[in-house]
């Protein structure tokens, strides 16, 4: 872990509002488009060489945050600031953006979809170099592709280059995708559920690869997952998301050993432990995560919280620090302190 004081990313009060479908008639009438808040005021930072995990169910906005970090969303839908090395990504000039695209990369969830099946593995890995005109000679291009594939564990690289993604297994494809990200020597990586589509038996390889990049090259990473136990396994810190907002953030060990927010506690209790479970140990929540358009008032978790009080549906709890950067947004914590 790094002691460098300046974070590679700092995110302040990030909100993302997606416009909903609007009839053509209303569009020409100039009516304001209805929106849905996918991300609703999120603050966090990622230190150099750190792996931060975003954990949440579908609809929690975790992938949207990942895209916002990489400036993949329409700037019109974003408010708040996302700073990469102290500079707001929305203010990037064209040249800034070109450098930025080389330094921040992404790994996708589905290795079957993230690679264009009509292009060879070589091209998949070499494409970033092509589109950014990063290599001058063919030899240099070939060498960089070879090194990246080797690093991604595709050995020998030559045996993969001429083939196409559909000739490979899911794990090998994900390695191609990782090689395609590594070929530019990025400093930062968004890994969006990189193992959720893979067989259990090969998840470890991909996770080791990501951890290895951090260990050997100091690559920082935002690891997006729905699986708290995977987040706990590989990351330094974990942020728990619920309906577009961070409920709890802190060191991975802290979150696992001493969860503060009721949502985290419940998530933790249903994680499989591969041991005989004692009766009643699971704290199941009722219902499902509401649609972001119908988020409850006050604390957005209040509609499913087993400890919900009257206050919870009236006002929204602020993040409170319980020491060592372990923060949670819940009124129960205030009561404990008081």
């Amino acid at each position: 872990m790094s002691n460098a004081p300046d974070p590679i990313y700092s995110v302040e009060n990030l909100c993302v509002r997606f416009p909903l479908a609007q009839p053509f008639s209303e569009m020409i009438a100039g009516k304001e488009r209805p929106t849905v808040r996918a991300v609703d005021g999120v603050n966090f930072s990622i230190r150099r060489g750190e792996i931060l995990s975003l954990v949440g169910e579908s609809g929690s906005g975790k992938s949207t945050i990942g895209k916002a970090l990489l400036r993949l969303l329409d700037p019109k839908v974003i408010t708040g600031s996302v700073c990469f090395e102290g500079k707001d990504v929305s203010t990037f000039s064209k040249t800034d953006l070109t450098t930025f695209r080389q330094r921040a990369q992404m790994i996708f969830q589905d290795p079957y979809q993230a690679l264009n099946s009509k292009l060879s593995n070589f091209y998949q890995v070499a494409e970033p170099l092509y589109v950014n005109h990063l290599t001058k000679t063919k030899e240099e291009l070939y060498e960089r592709v070879r090194v990246a594939m080797d690093q991604a564990g595709l050995r020998p690289p030559e045996s993969y280059m001429g083939r196409f993604p559909h000739e490979l297994s899911g794990g090998q494809r994900q390695r191609i995708a990782i090689a395609g990200a590594m070929v530019m020597n990025p400093d930062f990586l968004v890994a969006d559920e990189p193992v959720s589509m893979l067989d259990v038996s090969i998840r470890a390889d991909i996770l080791k690869l990501i951890v290895g990049l951090r260990e050997e090259r100091g690559v920082s990473c935002l690891f997006i997952t729905h699986d708290l136990s995977l987040a706990w396994l590989i990351s330094d810190r974990i942020a728990i998301l619920y309906l577009g907002k961070i409920m709890e953030i802190g060191k991975a060990e802290e979150i696992a050993a001493n969860p503060l927010h009721p949502y985290t506690q419940s998530l933790l209790s249903i994680m499989p432990k591969l041991e005989l479970r004692k009766e009643g140990k699971r704290e199941l929540l009722s219902g499902e995560i509401p649609n972001p358009t119908e988020a409850p008032k006050g604390c957005r978790f209040s509609s499913r919280c087993p400890h919900a009080m009257k206050r919870c549906s009236e006002e929204e709890p602020a993040m409170s620090d319980s020491g060592e950067g372990h923060l949670a947004a819940c009124f129960l914590l205030d009561e404990k302190k008081a």
């Binding site: 038996s201 470890a204 591969l274 699971r282 199941l284």
Partner: protein, 327 residues
């Protein structure tokens, strides 16, 4: 007499000119009220095994040998009518991905009624009352019987599917990856519900899953399948301490154990063998860290260990284990 007894089941698919041995000599028994987990990676034949029981196989698949005894009757010899009468009334299924498994143009109530009326001669009112009771059992408001599937959330659809599966009071319920594509919390809810209903209604259950961890809270016994065969058959209570087959043990170490010591999980290198041309020895030998020369040549013997524990492996430590019996 066991409720369901499957012996040496072989089911094959015709793929072009080749034959794919999807299920290759599978045996297990299921007692009344018992739940069995069929676990394995995708393509190892677990769904085919389950669907063979009610002969719900695609046109290019066929049960080639073996016997399936349901309440002492041979299913493979039943007439079409006999099979149809058995489906849903005796054995029902909760399919994966309830969005597609429910008919989009019928209301939930009508779809449940469709199943009831097919097997029972009930009055309109009785059917209506039954639907309301079923929906409440799965914690859905009875008024929502008039809703269409698309008006339900993912978890609710799966609950409705469960209600439909219970419609004719079956003795066995098959869950075919019932929680894929659902959120972790909803997954836990569905497993919890299935487990509760099974106990209340004293049904037997076969749970098909690729996720070893999902099954451990729900099942009494686990059958670990690899490439069309059951490699290990063990009580879940013993699984964590007694797992004997190298595949089972590797599979167990590919899950992180949150709360204990942080240790990187393991992977199983290599890929599943081609089932149109399976290896002649042990099917796991290419990926097994403990493979011996004999593993490539001879199929492993089945070893009976104490406590209904069966393992198919050549490992001497197993063969010579105390109380081990050869089959």
């Amino acid at each position: 007499m066991a409720l369901l007894e499957v012996t040496d089941l072989h089911t094959e698919f015709a793929v072009g000119k080749k034959t794919l041995h999807a299920v290759d000599g599978v045996s297990f028994t299921l007692e009344q009220g018992e739940s069995l987990g069929l676990v394995g990676e995708s393509g190892c034949g677990k769904t085919t095994t389950a669907l063979s029981i009610i002969k719900l196989l695609p046109g290019n698949a066929q049960i080639t040998s073996g016997s399936i005894l349901y309440q002492g009757e041979e299913v493979t010899k039943k007439t079409r009518k006999g099979i149809r009468d058995m489906r849903w009334k005796e054995i029902s299924i909760v399919f994966q991905g309830a969005m597609n498994a429910l008919n989009p143009v019928m209301t939930i109530g009508d779809q449940i009624a469709d199943a009831i009326l097919l097997h029972e001669n009930l009055s309109k009112e009785a059917v209506k009352a039954r639907i309301a009771e079923l929906l409440e059992r799965v914690e859905i408001d009875r008024k929502r019987a008039t809703n269409y599937p698309h008006e339900f959330s993912g978890g609710m659809r799966q609950r409705a599917m469960i209600a439909m599966a219970l419609a004719c009071n079956p003795k066995i319920i098959i869950g075919d990856e019932p929680t894929t594509a659902l959120d972790v919390m909803v997954q836990a809810q569905i497993f919890d519900l299935l487990e509760r209903l099974r106990r209340e209604l004293r049904m037997a259950m076969i749970l098909i899953t690729h996720d070893l961890s999902a099954m451990t809270d729900t099942c009494d016994k686990a059958a670990i399948m690899y490439a069309g065969k059951i490699v290990e058959y063990v009580r879940v209570a013993d699984l964590f301490t007694e797992a004997a087959h190298p595949y089972t043990r590797l599979l167990m170490s590919s899950y992180p154990r949150i709360g204990s010591e942080r240790k990187m999980i393991d992977s199983i290198p290599g890929t599943v063998p081609d089932l149109t041309d399976p290896p002649k020895g042990c099917r796991f030998c290419d990926r097994c860290p403990e493979a011996m020369p004999i593993c490539r040549e001879t199929p492993p013997p089945e070893i009976l260990l104490p406590g209904e524990h069966r393992v198919s492996c050549h490992l001497p430590s197993l063969i010579q284990k105390e109380g081990a019996k050869h089959v």
